[in-house]
């Protein structure tokens, strides 16, 4: 287990709207998480901003474009750019999602579901193992919020997820909000999900807010405070397998940074 970040650490997802406040006040935060792809290009400004941040805070990298479960070969150009970024920020760990994000030459910029099948699980584990060894850092895979299930599945999501992580020897990037959203959309018990997780392999936990649509289904919008139900689930996870680094994501209708940090630090109360 990586030791560069305290297991009790509480962080927030860093977005461009936070820079003005951050650079003036340098608030107390244990660490920041950034979206890898936002810093993998050559653009000067994002890198200058991140340079200032990394001088004062630990940074972990969270990707949305690895396309772990895409049918196409892993992109070495992508992995090489990611490796450069990892070295530059000295990220203690790197995470991405258990999903596909593009196919047949197209990038969909969404986290898309798959059938939970044994042959796919074994192949995904091979890919995850390869990624972890290629990047040379602990690699965590995040469970996604999903809005549909496929009849071809032969196992539960948590069996598939655990199977990939265990077989690959990588880590869980466990998103508690995603567990809750999917549990509501598909009608399973979120506690069943949690009880299948080997918390000794949890690199980090994500929290976020969701939106309930008029028909009752939930969408992982990251534009609300963390719901009471998700805090309860977080509490259960902490009792079951804490400590683990905890990070709050907020991507739309983003509140000022102090409010965001305060929302993340509610985790301290929930843990007590």
């Amino acid at each position: 287990m990586p030791s560069d970040l305290s297991r009790n650490a509480i962080g927030v997802g860093l977005r461009t709207v936070h820079y003005a406040y951050l650079f003036e006040h340098w608030p107390q935060v244990d660490y920041f998480e950034v979206i890898s792809e936002n810093f993998m290009g050559d653009a000067e400004r994002p890198r200058k901003n991140l340079m200032r941040v990394k001088e004062r805070y630990p940074i972990v990298l969270h990707g949305v474009g690895l396309n772990l479960l895409g049918a196409e070969p892993l992109s070495h150009a992508y992995l090489d750019r990611l490796c450069k970024l990892i070295d530059w920020v000295d990220a203690p760990f790197v995470t991405d999602h258990l999903c596909w994000t593009g196919a047949h030459g197209f990038s969909h910029h969404d986290l898309l579901p798959v059938p939970y099948a044994l042959d796919l699980m074994e192949w995904a584990a091979e890919r995850a193992k390869y990624v972890q060894e290629y990047i040379g850092r602990p690699f965590g895979i995040e469970n996604l919020s999903s809005y549909l299930e496929l009849k071809q599945s032969t196992m539960t999501e948590w069996e598939f997820y655990s199977g990939v992580v265990n077989k690959a020897g990588c880590y869980f990037m466990l998103d508690i909000n995603n567990i809750y959203v999917s549990s509501q959309n598909h009608g399973f018990s979120p506690n069943d999900y949690l009880s299948a997780i080997d918390f000794s392999r949890v690199l980090q936990v994500h929290l976020a807010g969701y939106t309930r649509e008029p028909q009752g289904n939930l969408i992982d919008t990251h534009d609300h405070p963390v719901s009471d139900e998700v805090w309860s689930l977080y509490q259960a996870a902490w009792k079951c397998g804490g400590p683990f680094p905890t990070l709050l994501e907020w991507d739309a209708e983003i509140p000022p940074l102090p409010n965001l940090i305060a929302e993340a630090q509610k985790a301290l109360t929930v843990r007590a």
């Binding site: 792809e37 993998m40 290009g41 050559d42 653009a43 000067e44 400004r45 890198r47 949305v64 474009g65 895409g70 049918a71 070969p73 892993l74 992109s75 992508y78 490796c83 990892i86 070295d87 596909w100 994000t101 593009g102 196919a103 047949h104 030459g105 197209f106 990038s107 969909h108 910029h109 969404d110 898309l112 798959v114 059938p115 099948a117 042959d119 796919l120 192949w123 091979e126 193992k129 390869y130 060894e133 290629y134 990047i135 040379g136 850092r137 602990p138 809005y147 549909l148 299930e149 496929l150 009849k151 071809q152 509501q184 959309n185 598909h186 009608g187 028909q215 009752g216 289904n217 969408i219």
Partner: protein
């Protein structure tokens, strides 16, 4: 373990399960299907047309199989519309989000995103507008001239370039450079664009950046004279500097030919009355351009 201390890499993963590519192709078709606009909202009709994929999806506690797939169809387009709007804020506000999304959808159907950087999904939209927008836009209660839309897109494109340009050192002249300046060619630094506008679009873009309303602003009046602006990078963010017409011409000429030739061309292009004061003004403009970091190198 750091990247420089990598162990022997794992063997390259083998091929995926045979069914995966077909599944992802069907899914790709479903989510890329255009949203229906005929009823005044963006409505997914993809699921109706994707029978075989819908058959593979279970119904959920709240949504049927087709409705569940529709969530992804809407999400695909709405996310991309949002990126296009943020990359082209002036165009999207001027023409209104509803009409802009239609333009964006036409563009994205022809040029689907292919890279992991979502902002690159908007690459080529300016050229697409120039090529495909042949007439004025007729909207309820107003008509927007084609030239206005294309100029607005040029302004947005200039800011995109300013924000996305890679690190490039600004040229710092040495004493030795002075001697060879006449025959030297200056190279413009990435991230800088000189634009012409017949409407006050740079000013409008700035005003709209602090206006949280979503409705289209009143159309700007045409300017009495064309304005020239330098858009680029500054240490604190974006530079937006109005240039004199002759100054803009000087910079344009310097981009394309050696400085000496540019000065000769400029001299022949100005009126006799302006010619006498030109050398001192040129010196000020060239010094200003260096101070702004407009050039990357000289050769």
């Amino acid at each position: 373990m750091t990247p420089s201390e990598k162990s022997t890499p794992a063997p390259l993963p083998g091929p995926p399960p045979a069914w995966l590519a077909d599944y992802q192709l069907e899914f790709t078709k479903a989510i890329r299907a255009p949203l229906d606009r005929s009823k005044g909202t963006l409505r997914s009709v993809a699921a109706d047309k994707q029978g075989s994929l819908v058959q593979q999806i279970s119904s959920g506690p709240m949504l049927g199989a087709a409705e569940r797939l529709a969530v992804y169809n809407r999400q695909y387009w709405c996310r991309l519309f949002s990126v296009m709007q943020s990359e082209y804020p002036l165009v999207s506000r001027l023409v209104g989000y509803w009409f802009f999304n239609e333009l964006a959808a036409q563009f994205l159907l022809k040029h689907p995103p292919c890279t992991a950087d979502i902002q690159e999904a908007a690459d080529g939209f300016f050229a697409f507008l120039q090529d495909t927008l042949l007439n004025s836009l007729v909207q309820p209660q107003r008509m927007i001239e084609r030239r206005l839309v294309v100029q607005a897109a040029a302004v947005d494109e200039a800011f995109r370039e300013a924000f996305r340009a890679p690190v490039e050192r600004a040229y710092e002249p040495s004493a030795a450079d002075a001697a060879k300046l006449g025959t030297a060619q200056l190279h413009m630094r990435r991230g800088f664009t000189i634009i012409e506008q017949s409407y006050p679009l740079v000013q409008l873009r700035k005003a709209l950046s602090v206006d949280t309303s979503e409705s289209p602003p009143p159309l700007p009046e045409k300017l009495k004279a064309t304005e020239h602006w330098l858009i680029g990078r500054a240490p604190s963010g974006a530079l937006q500097l109005q240039l004199e017409e002759t100054q803009a011409k000087l910079y344009h000429l310097c981009i394309h030919m050696p400085v000496g030739e540019a000065l000769a061309r400029l001299e022949s292009a100005v009126t006799k009355g302006d010619r006498s004061g030109l050398p001192s003004r040129v010196r000020v403009w060239l010094a200003q351009s260096v101070k702004l970091g407009l050039w990357s190198s000289i050769e």
